[in-house]
């Protein structure tokens, strides 16, 4: 139980932390860090209303709280369940969680094309990471997969709906950016899709951020398409004078060429500040940027695995860990 009345105490996989009341289990786990953090495919802390949908972050609450220690009968979505003082949560230490999460991964992959070899997201795909960690090597699904045609939603963004896992992040992003959202979720059930209904290009100055929030390769940067594989690029922190956004970005370099520009992501893979379309799509000349230095890649992924000697010295312990 928390000694401090301003905080509540929660234990996740045996690790205890004090957090502010109202904190979700997922965010408490992220404060602890490491293995206790459940994966999250749809939740995005800066996007209001996100979360709850993908069900990958399900955890077992083995003790509800100090006051009411009864366990919760069902697994709960850690992204949308707030902690109670004295709560005990099992993530990886729960067989039920491991089993259910394996199920969710299988469901997410059911209609996924598994076209990683030709997908621009490969190497920084959350679904790829998840499948690697929880998935089985063989699918039990023997029916035709759902397929959609690729469409361009504007000159810079391509929507490849076949890869989408319906996390709704891009819709929440648009809602947050504008009162005049132009794309949304159409149809229902397993026929549901992200789209504009009629051919339309998304015009908002910041709409490019849907690419960064997409956990898979459903929304990709056309200016980057097939330019390179992510793991051959070298990410550099850079900034520029911009009237629309902070100008703080990451340049993904191939030699001295800027292959693409993205926002900066934190250790949870979430963009810290949205950048504008101009910075993202148009500023592809190195002279337009002040390069700060190599980008830390904290996540253990193919990108960091390929992250070789150029990585700044202070990052090496992370690499060793991975």
């Amino acid at each position: 139980m928390s000694e401090n009345p301003e905080t509540v105490s929660v234990t996740i996989d045996g690790k205890t932390i004090q957090v502010a009341p109202g904190t979700t289990i997922l965010n408490a786990a992220r404060q602890i860090g490491g293995e206790v953090v459940p994966p999250a495919m749809c939740y995005y802390s800066s996007l209001k209303g996100s979360g709850g949908k993908c069900r990958t972050c399900l955890v077992e609450v083995s003790k509800g709280s100090e006051k009411d220690p009864r366990p919760m009968p069902k697994l709960v979505a850690s992204c949308s369940t707030t902690v109670m003082d004295g709560m005990e949560v099992k993530n990886k230490t729960s067989e039920r969680v491991v089993d259910a999460r394996g199920g969710v991964v299988e469901f997410l992959l059911l209609n996924h094309p598994l076209d990683c070899p030709v997908c621009d997201q490969a190497g920084e795909c959350k679904l790829q990471d998840l499948a690697f960690e929880h998935g089985k090597s063989k699918t039990r699904y023997e029916f035709k997969r759902r397929e959609f045609d690729k469409i361009d939603i504007g000159p810079y963004i391509q929507l490849h709906m076949t890869r989408c896992i319906m996390c709704y992040r891009c819709v929440h992003t648009a809602n947050q950016l504008t009162d005049k959202r132009e794309h949304g979720v159409l149809h229902r059930g397993d026929a549901a899709e992200i789209g504009t209904f009629i051919e339309k290009s998304l015009e908002n100055d910041f709409i490019g951020n849907v690419i960064d929030v997409c956990p898979v390769g459903a929304l990709t940067d056309k200016t980057f398409r097939f330019r390179s594989r992510v793991w051959y690029t070298k990410p550099m922190d850079a900034n520029c004078e911009c009237s629309k956004c902070s100008g703080k970005a990451v340049l993904w370099m191939v030699g001295n060429e800027i292959a693409r520009v993205t926002g900066r992501k934190d250790e949870n893979g979430e963009v810290t500040e949205f950048i504008c379309n101009e910075c993202r799509f148009d500023k592809k000349d190195l002279s337009q940027w002040n390069v700060e230095g190599p980008r830390k890649i904290e996540r253990s992924s193919v990108i960091s695995a390929g992250h070789y000697e150029q990585t700044a010295p202070e990052h090496t312990p992370l690499l060793n860990k991975a």
Binding site: R181, H183, G184, V185, L186, F197, I198
Partner: protein, 176 residues
């Protein structure tokens, strides 16, 4: 979006009055709550919900078009593609199935020369198998417009088809 709206592509004054009445059922600023019912009206009036019809509804209710598209494609009663004047919607779920829904569907298919989901060449009939309509005790059944036709037999279906052929009532719901 076409710049000029064809006059027939708008609601009549009576319909606009009905829209206002529906909107007035909800508190100020909550006119989006009228959307589902107004879409029924639009479908009845325009025949089906094409983009122009949905954009028109969006303007009427001060909504972004995407909000209307999202709703119109979610609910199974809305048609975003053209359908026949009379839509024969046969319930195919459990209790109706065991009372012969499949037989009724097959009969209509044969009778009209169309498959489930198709429309006759003359644009008169569309056959659609649908999920439970809440008439399980009176199975098998079909819905046409606002009418439920229950305890169906092949003979009843034949008579019904003739009746609708002679008098193809508006197929859609929402108009009195």
């Amino acid at each position: 979006m076409t710049a000029v709206m064809n006059e027939s592509r708008q609601f009549t004054p009576e319909l606009l009055e009905e829209v206002n009445r529906i909107v007035s059922l909800f508190p100020e600023g909550k006119q989006k709550s009228a959307l589902i019912r107004v879409l029924h009206l639009a479908q009845a009036h325009f025949g089906h919900l094409d983009t122009e019809a949905m954009d028109y509804v969006a303007r009427l209710l001060h909504l972004n078009p995407i909000e209307v598209y999202e709703v119109a494609t979610f609910y199974s009663m809305y048609d975003t593609k053209p359908v026949g004047k009379v839509k024969l919607e046969v319930c195919r779920t459990g209790p109706c199935m065991i009372e012969g829904a499949e037989r009724i569907i097959a009969h209509i298919e044969k009778r009209l020369g169309i498959k489930d989901g198709e429309t006759t060449a003359d644009g008169l009939f569309t056959l659609k198998s649908v999920e439970c309509l809440g008439a399980c005790g009176y199975a098998p059944m079909l819905q046409a417009g606002e009418s439920f036709h229950e305890h169906l037999t092949e003979e009843k279906v034949d008579a019904l088809i003739e009746e609708y052929r002679a008098n193809p009532v508006a197929n859609y719901m929402g108009l009195k």
